[in-house]
């Protein structure tokens, strides 16, 4: 492959998964995610991998569970309503401590909603995405290059922490085209999958993959162990981009596609003399609490830019402990917030251009 290629976000994600060693994909088509399935249906067989279109999202996610239990890198992808269908299986995967990558190319909701881009699944993604006490690592790319880099990262993090990782994309990132290149790998050393159910050949004790615990104290212990792992992840895996933050008095917080909009608004605001910067969360769970906390002192106010009715805004309020006002600039239902709207909001909260 040439140094740089021109790819759609969805295709890039699919290719990156294959480059990261994923040879098993189970899914069910849905707009605006379909290019991932379409790309893998064509390319997986060429490398001896498995592409399977299941009879439903529920079937697909349970196939993911099975493949993950056997120790292989496995992925499924869907868009908002399809992710809701997968939520039961995702909870089981978390309960079984299995590594898997799940992709949500978000569209408008609730219900069947619409097929236009959205970020309204933030709560669902960051609050566990299923029943029971658990978290998933949630990664939010903002460019096609970052889609590729974070897909590699997603598989590594899943293996490293033995947990499901969610790639939270959206219709814009999935459908847009940008030049990008593919790295060789992440260079991380990962633990041996000695827990995988691959047959004992009579040589070792049986491995068991299970999420059912017969005694409540045993289940409590398991959940608490998992939360110790979550605490470690919160300490080490928070990731964000700081943009024009040095002297920023007004701090925009935006991720994914809306961060692209916000960036242009910030450049325009700076041209008018306003001291505006952005913290762009790359991990939504763990949320970059440290970066927000650090910025709270210098900030006069925060502004979240979201393609939802305002969901991440709660995490910003929690992170800054409500010490500074947190405003919202948003559109929803598949409508895209314009940079001009963000700029107007910035002027409004700062009391006008300086």
């Amino acid at each position: 492959m040439a140094d740089k290629v021109l790819m759609k976000g969805n295709e890039a994600l699919a290719e990156a998964a294959m480059c990261a060693g994923c040879r098993h994909f189970f899914g069910y088509p849905i707009t605006p995610q379909t290019e991932i399935s379409a790309y893998l249906s064509k390319h997986m067989p060429k490398v001896g991998g498995t592409f399977l279109q299941a009879e439903s999202e529920v079937a697909a996610i349970n196939m993911v569970l099975g493949a993950a239990a056997a120790g292989v890198r496995v992925m499924t992808s869907s868009s908002s309503p399809g992710i809701s269908l997968k939520s039961e299986g995702i909870s089981y995967i978390a309960g079984c401590d299995l590594p898997a990558v799940i992709v949500n190319v978000q569209r408008g909701g609730p219900g069947l909603g619409g097929i236009q881009p959205s970020q309204a699944d933030y709560y669902q993604a960051t609050r566990g995405l299923g029943h029971g006490d658990f978290h998933m690592i949630v990664l939010a790319p903002s460019t096609v290059q970052e889609v590729i880099d974070l897909t590699f990262e997603a598989f590594d993090l899943a293996d490293l922490y033995r947990m499901p990782v969610l790639m939270l994309s959206d219709g814009i990132l999935g459908q847009m085209m940008e030049p990008a290149s593919f790295p060789e790998g992440t260079g991380r050393t990962l633990p041996e999958k000695d827990w995988a159910v691959t047959g004992t050949q009579g040589k070792r004790k049986k491995n068991i993959v299970n999420s059912l615990y017969l005694q409540p104290d045993e289940l409590e212990r398991k959940v608490m162990e998992r939360y110790e792992r979550y605490d470690a992840i919160k300490k080490t895996e928070q990731k964000c981009e700081r943009f024009m933050m040095d002297d920023a008095e007004y701090v925009v917080v935006a991720y994914g596609a809306s961060a692209r909009v916000a960036k242009n608004a910030i450049v325009a605001a700076r041209a008018e003399g306003m001291k505006v910067g952005m913290i762009r969360p790359i991990t939504l769970w763990p949320f970059p609490v440290d970066a927000i906390r650090e910025a709270t002192e210098q900030a006069k106010a925060f502004l979240t830019v979201e393609l939802s009715m305002g969901q991440m805004i709660d995490d910003v309020r929690l992170a800054c402990e409500c010490k500074k006002p947190v405003h919202l600039c948003n559109r929803t239902g598949g409508m895209i917030v314009k940079p001009q709207e963000v700029l107007a909001k910035l002027k409004e909260i700062s009391g006008g251009a300086k």
Binding site: K4, I115, P117, P179, V261, G334
Partner: protein, 221 residues
């Protein structure tokens, strides 16, 4: 420059730049004084399609025909009934923008017999060396076979649209001439157009077709 045919279809690999080329070609036809219609027959892309340029095309006096469900939340691969007017509208020149690959080209199958009877059509194969699946002539050949099987219409020429999006440089276009020639040699069709962003300046390439990007990034001011 190629001679304008009554019907010009832009087809090819997904993401090779068909919509952008089709819109630019429609503007070019109109500038030649032809009554022009753009048909958005893309049944694959939910958004980022030639219908996005409907306003600018309309202002230039170019008729746009697209599925009434395009750019809405109705996720159905519907074709606009008015598409048949490409065979009936006297004196009109029609530019057809197809969806990518075999999946997208399927939509043209409905019109394959009428196209064959019309005998004045052109179906251009849009190629881009920076798309991984069409980076080699062999890759292009695979796409050609899939598309022709799906829509039962044969390609008549090649439109080289090699680009790296916003990062496209002159050298990319100049270097792609050899690639387009190799594709031409393998599939036995002439290169009738080398498209490149007009702001790159004048380039010494076969059948130059300078274009402007019609789809504006929705996140920019």
């Amino acid at each position: 420059m190629l001679e304008a045919k009554k019907i010009t279809v832009f087809a090819g690999h997904y993401g090779s730049g068909k919509s952008n080329l089709a819109v630019n070609y429609a503007f070019w036809l109109k500038q030649q004084g032809k009554e022009t219609t753009l048909l958005d027959l893309d049944i694959v892309n939910p958004y980022f399609r030639s219908k996005d340029s409907e306003k600018e095309l309309g202002e230039a006096g170019i008729r746009v025909i697209a599925s009434e469900f395009a750019n809405s939340n109705v996720d159905v691969p519907a074709l606009p009934p008015a598409a048949y007017s490409m065979f009936t509208a006297d004196g009109h020149y029609s530019v057809v923008d197809l969806g990518g690959d075999d999946r997208g080209s399927l939509a043209l199958g409905r019109f394959s017999e009428m196209l064959a009877a019309a005998d004045t059509y052109e179906m251009l194969l849009v190629i881009n060396q920076f798309r991984p699946d069409t980076a080699t002539p062999e890759g292009v050949l695979e796409v050609v076979r899939e598309i022709e099987d799906a829509c039962h219409v044969k390609f008549t020429g090649i439109a080289n649209n090699t680009n790296l999006g916003a990062m496209t440089e002159k050298s990319h276009v100049l270097d792609s001439v050899a690639y387009a020639k190799a594709v031409s040699d393998l599939i036995g069709l002439p290169v009738v157009m080398t498209a490149y962003r007009a702001d790159l300046g004048e380039l010494d390439v076969p059948h130059p077709f300078p274009i402007t990007l019609t789809t504006k990034a929705i996140w920019s001011i």
